[in-house]
Amino acid sequence: MIKVENVTKKFDDFIALKNMNCEISEGCIYGLVGSNGAGKSTFLRLITGIYKPDEGKISIDEKPVWENQEAKSDFVFVPDELYFISQATLNKMAKLYNACYPNFSFERYKMLVDKFGLDPKKKIASFSKGMKRQAAIICALSCQTKYLFFDETFDGLDPVMRNLVKNLIFDDICERQATAVITSHSLRELEDTCDQLTLLHKGGVVFESDVQNLKTSLFKIQAAFNIDYDKKLFTDNGIEVLDFKKTGVVSNSIIRGDKDKVIEILSGFKPIILDILPLSLEEVFIFEMGEMGYKFEDVFEKEEEKNEKK
């Protein structure tokens, strides 16, 4: 388990993280989302012992991380800005990792190299950006550590590779009870991967929740009734409505609660249309954050906007 207790990190006068608390249990994939400058990378660097917190403490399996060789043997970190030795090949980097990590496996390394289809004898400097990221992932996964930290690693991968990496992580979690912490500034990327999600904004935790709970606790209902109705039809019957829009006779509502129970109640009104639509994580966040007084646009870059920029 990773425990972060009241951690604060400053860089000169700038507070990167303030009084951060979180617990990451074993055997899960933990997602950390937030916009640029939210503190995601700082957080990862703190729990991997690169930075020393100015206040608070961080422990992995009850061992302090800072300057602790034993604790560091249990994790590997793939940063957003990758580092390779000058003029190194993948094989050379593997040897360096092997020198550092006690459980590094060349067997696994060879298997991963084959799976990703990279040439281990070619200089990494000649790889594309995505291939470099794959190389870093190969080295990291070959270390067979208990904890894996990926800082915006998926951002540079194509969907096929992303899927491959995801499955490899899943394998590690299943086989070795590994724990992965992945950061991203895109909810869409983490949606299908993470078990838990934490939202960071301006150095603090805004929101933390189990993903499954998030997705099932909120849902969208599209309904139409013969009778004249409004939002009161739902709320008077004990249904928690977060958002209600009606166009003609058809209404779209965002509802929090037990899906089956809500269906049962609404069926009693003999609806012409009654459909349950799944919500994307983005939509869930919009409403959850709205409840907390945050505007989604202030915290996140929307997927569409990101694509437009690309």
Partner: protein, 753 residues
Amino acid sequence: MKRNKFFSPALMLEGIKQTRVVGICFAIISVLASCGYPLLRLISYASMDYDTLKAQPYFTIDIATFSMPIFLIQYIMPIVMIFLLFNFMNIRKASDFYHSIPLSKTCVYLTYTVTALIWSIVTVVVSTLLSFTIYALSLKTVINIEFVWPTIISSIILAMLVASIALLAKGLSGTIFTNIIITLIIMFLPRVIILLYTTAINTSVKITDVSFMSLTDIYNNIIFAPFIYNNSFLIEKTAPILNASTQWYSLILAIIYFVIGFFIHKFRKSESAGKSAAYKGVQPVVRILLGSIPLLLISFNLACGLKVYTEFWLIGILVSLLAYFLYELITTKSAKKLLISIPFYLIAILANAIFIIACVSERNFILNDIPEPSEISSVSISYNNDYLNTVYINDNYYKYKTENIKFDDKELIKCMQSSLVETVEKVKEDDFSKFYSENYIYYDVIFHCSSGRDIKRRVYVNINKLGGSENLSLDSYIHKNKEYENAIYSLPTDKELKSINIDTSNIDFSKDELNELWKIYKEEFNSASNEDKSMLSYRDNDIYNNYNIDNTTSIVTIGYVGMNSFSQHYLIDAKITPKTYNKYLNKTMSKLIQDNIVDTVKKNESSAEYFRLDFSDLKNKDNYFTLEYYNDNVGDEDLMMNPSVDGTLKRYNVNYTDSGIDKKYISDLRKISNIIINAISEDVDVEKDNLIQCSLSTNVNLEYSYDGDRINGYSMNSQSQTVYVNITDEQYDEINRILSKCSNHTNYVEPEN
């Protein structure tokens, strides 16, 4: 398996692989530098014919020649290796990587340091052994295997010191530019400041040599050692780089730097990578130091009491400001920070003011530090080499042997104390003219106080102070001390002696030959009178009356008295040390060399345009002359200048100074050369016969330079050889007769037949 917290063999191997290209390049350069010269000698000898080879003298390699190329490479190599291995400290993502891996900072620091040093050690060992092997295989080369170990030790210590400085610099800064600047500052600045400080005080005080437990001795830091040589060429044979105190001092300094560097690396943050300074305070300190350095030269002059010209002031301040602000601009690229740094420039000025104040304070303290006679328990008087020995003023064996002998004679103490008072008064008046008269000589005196303190001063003493008209009065007091007398009339002990060689000889002696020579010399020296001993150790002013110094040959001894290295010359005299002299001549006048000289001169007789003969009687320096004449068989007779002879033969009461000789006498003059040539092969008996040193030069090619039709000069390519010959009285007379005839001297008497 439990992993070592402090060292990772696997990381070390990876480090070695990462740096192998650079390491191998340095190793090759080191091998080439150290083996190039002996290899050329080997090739050159291999191409000679047998007879020429046999005639060549032996060539002795001194330790400085041997070790210097290997040594000098270690100024650069450790810096480059450390900068390469620890380059991750300059790049943010690399620094993050090294902080995230399960190796502690301690482990990375120690492992990579060892990696860098391994390259240096291997390079040094391979270069040294290869160089020695090639020298040893070189024909006619004498090399001492004892050179190997000190060379390796000193080179490795240098590598360690340089590496530790580079590590320190790397820990304090995060860009390559600042790495280099800080490395240079740490490497040179402290010692330069100490040197300037001590020099300023010594210059302004004049009567003392400031040294703080010898730590300020410039020799002690091995980085500076190769650049400081004693005036005596042969002091290089135990060059400061191989001095034990230098090695120990430098090793301890390296360890101190390593330890400081360790803590700096340990507490350094990963996020400081790529920044000019890794810690707050480093940036302003470096900036202030850079701004202070040009001002220091001005401060130094002021502290010495010297005038500083306006131009010097302006240039100094300008350079100082440039250094200060340029550094800030280059490292921070921020105009705002540049503006903030302006007031801090005052600290650079303040630092220099402190330097001047410290020098002045020290000067005042020294000048006012005069113990009363009652406070002085004894004095040590160092043998005054500068005054008495005007031949080899850097000979200092007797200085070190005498400086610790304590005199507790009350009269002497009182004399020295009052002399000190007088000397200090003159220093304060800045007027030493009184001391430059014949009545004053100076001594280096240590006043041993009852409190346990020692005060070392140069004291000008009036030689009449103790009564009597000559400095013998003072000497008589000093010589009452048996310990002193033994010290100044003894030779260096075997324990003190490290090296022996023959000065002014173009023949090189092997170690065994030198040891044999020294053994004989010791016996002869020890049985000589005290006056002769003074003469032999070049410590008698009369030596100039008795010898033509340029023609003397001496044994040069080099070694240690305690931690002080010394050199001392000992005259090889035909009368006082005849056995030594004989042995020396037998070596220098070997049959092969004799034959070589005779062949050369005879060969050139018909083809050389010019001859020169330098004749010098070793038993009587007033019998000498130089003879020059031209070969009338070769060249344009009209162009050839008249022969000339210059010198004196006191033996015959004849003075030949600038005596011109008509060209018609050239064939007669040639007879003098023939007398010498014929005498060469005679055995030399130094005790009985007339022993003459001759230098015979022949020139094969004379080139004239013209001004229109007029000759206004010439150049020549001469072959010269110095020989020792046994001239009989008859031959001596014949030479004089020929010279007198040729120079039309009035006391020439034509022989009867």
